[in-house]
Symmetry: C2
Subunit: 375 residues, 2 copies
């Protein structure tokens, strides 16, 4: 095992990139999709299922884990990897997004974000330094700077203020990270600036000047729409170095992932596969399938007879329909598994298409097939 | 594979019995505990986990399955085994108990039980004949007669009336079963009579005269208490033939199972392992463990390092505590798995102790160990 964090760009196909990140806990094949393990579990899945689906890395959340069970407790228990039985790399989000989206009351100052827990109303101050401290206590392999996430739409002036605050927090995060982190861990900066191209460019350039090991694009998929997201991505990625991994945070649908990979994104995370699975929706190569739909009630065919995922291959749509309609936990378990495996299969197919220099035609054919059916 | 239903009493140790039931879908080692798959799923478990835990047979419910997805639908889909992916034998309860415990409004007449669905208030008539028809549509290997279940306590006169109605329903069930069933399927009668020894004896003798392939003891574990349950059992079992399997319905705790096996019971079912698992309670050889308890918050030891069940062996109590406190589905999944495996391990240990002629000493030592700790 290597002891360092190292990104290698193996090949490109147009703007699409095929790479590999070496970490002390194993390699991450990119483009990579990171299943979300919010509260120390990828919901409704055993860790072995996540690994066997093909995931090299999963994501954890500072916001959730600091509130329950607490970062110091996780550290006393041996760190997040041991706690949740995930041997591979873990990336932790800094908490910035959840402070915005989940906490009941929040106040952003130069020092950090003060917020009330969505669980019990208790008050917490999350500073850039404390977020890094928490991520080091958890033992995260890839850590994210604290950023201020704003809602969409936002005025240019407001987006600029938050972007500049996020830059100052990036610098404080870097100082804290250099003090607290272990060899082989990496800190990523987060490009902000809403949908404003000038702000995105300034944010990217300032972060690049800090020479961080990776860069994320934050503040997207917050309601701006698919086209605005892609336009902002196109305005941002050229300002990031080709030799560093690029991570598009909180995205997205299979179509979003294909379009973002086509533009040069290397890493993704999203709750969509598991959340939609819990709500009865399956992602397949033939598009989305809503298992609540009565048309599936007597359909003995599986979701995908060719799948390597037992949940997609061995259970009938009729049975899945019954489980979803009955609110049975097994329905959530099977569909979260189907979707987690599908997202990994999608990434594997993208990686192969890039290696073989046929990404554009693969993407067109795949999007057409996915869009053909709705049910 | 045999094509018939055949019970073989292999050995006895005191009143405890070690036997085997041959069915066209495989053998059932007795004493046997049947995990409950109420609505076509043993809650929060994949069918492979139930099988690998050691279960030879599971239970399904006429009441639930007739309401959703419907017996005719299950039949069109190829039967319950194929629908829920359980290859082994299935026993189905007739619906009598659920009509009493779940339906909003019910009326019992000579013809059958009229009730309103707990799901949507729709009206249904369940007759002895319809219950058998449903069980045949589901493809149940062991079918139960419809009985009238009454609440505890009940006057002697009321218990006698319900017991006699259940006997008349047993005879109608037998006629329907002979008309509708397939070779190798079996119909069990249900002894009723509340806690009254004279009624239990009369019920047992009348059912034995019908020469059914197996007999259940119903109407217990409904609030009469452990001692009254055992006393009623002791008053009933001597009136049942030694060459037929005896099934104690809806029981119970590990201690209940040990005491009932000691008195000659061969089969059990209960929602306790999965329901308690969903509520954060684990059954172990060292007694019950309430994972909600704060004392487990930083305990890195597993529930049972010697267990063959990964959920009991590989996950820390601290992590299970966190999952239960956070309401995460994985907590229910792991603890339902732990308990289902423990109940099967308990039955396997009882079978071995009977084979080796040391059941009484095993039972004393096991009860003492289980009772030693509470947490």
């Amino acid at each position: 095992m290597s002891t360092g964090f190292q990104f290698t760009l193996l090949t490109t196909d147009g703007a699409a990139r095929r790479g590999e990140i070496a970490t002390p806990r194993g390699r991450i094949r990119t483009p990579a999709f990171m299943p979300v393990g919010t509260v120390g579990t990828v919901k409704a899945l055993y860790p072995e299922q996540v690994r066997d689906a093909g995931a090299d890395i999963i994501l954890g959340n500072v916001y959730h884990l600091m509130l329950r069970p607490g970062a110091e407790r996780v550290a006393r228990l041996g760190g997040l990897h041991s706690f949740m039985r995930w041997k591979g790399p873990i990336l932790t989000d800094s908490g910035g997004f959840q402070v915005m989206s989940l906490s009941q009351i929040r106040k952003i100052t130069e020092e950090g974000a003060t917020f009330q827990s969505h669980l019990d109303g208790s008050r917490h101050l999350l500073t850039p330094e404390r977020s890094i401290e928490i991520q080091c206590l958890l033992g995260a392999d890839i850590q994210m700077q604290l950023d201020e996430c704003i809602e969409h739409p936002a005025e240019h002036r407001e987006a600029e203020r938050a972007m500049e605050l996020s830059l100052r927090w990036a610098k404080r995060s870097q100082v804290a990270f250099e003090r607290l982190s272990k060899p082989g861990q990496a800190l990523f900066g987060i490009v902000q600036g809403s949908v404003y191209e000038d702000l995105r460019r300034r944010s990217a350039e300032a972060l690049v000047a800090m020479d961080l090991p990776g860069y994320a694009v934050g503040g997207l998929a917050v309601g701006e729409g698919h086209e605005a997201m892609l336009r902002t991505l196109e305005a941002t990625l050229p300002h990031l170095p080709t030799v560093k991994p690029r991570y598009l945070m909180g995205v997205g649908t299979p179509e979003d992932l294909i379009e973002a990979v086509a533009r040069g994104v290397d890493m993704f995370d999203c709750v969509m596969p598991t959340r939609n699975g819990r709500h009865g929706l399956a992602f397949t190569w033939d598009g989305r399938i809503n298992l609540k739909n009565a048309k599936h009630a007597e359909d003995t065919s599986p979701l995908d007879p060719q799948s390597t995922c037992p949940a997609a291959r061995d259970y009938s749509r009729a049975y899945l329909h019954h489980l979803v309609k009955s609110g049975e936990m097994l329905g959530s378990m099977l569909l979260s598994w189907v979707n987690t495996a599908f997202y990994q299969d999608l990434m594997a197919a993208m990686r192969l298409a890039i290696e073989e220099g046929r990404f554009a035609s693969w993407a067109e054919a795949t999007k057409a097939r996915m869009g053909r059916t709705t049910s």
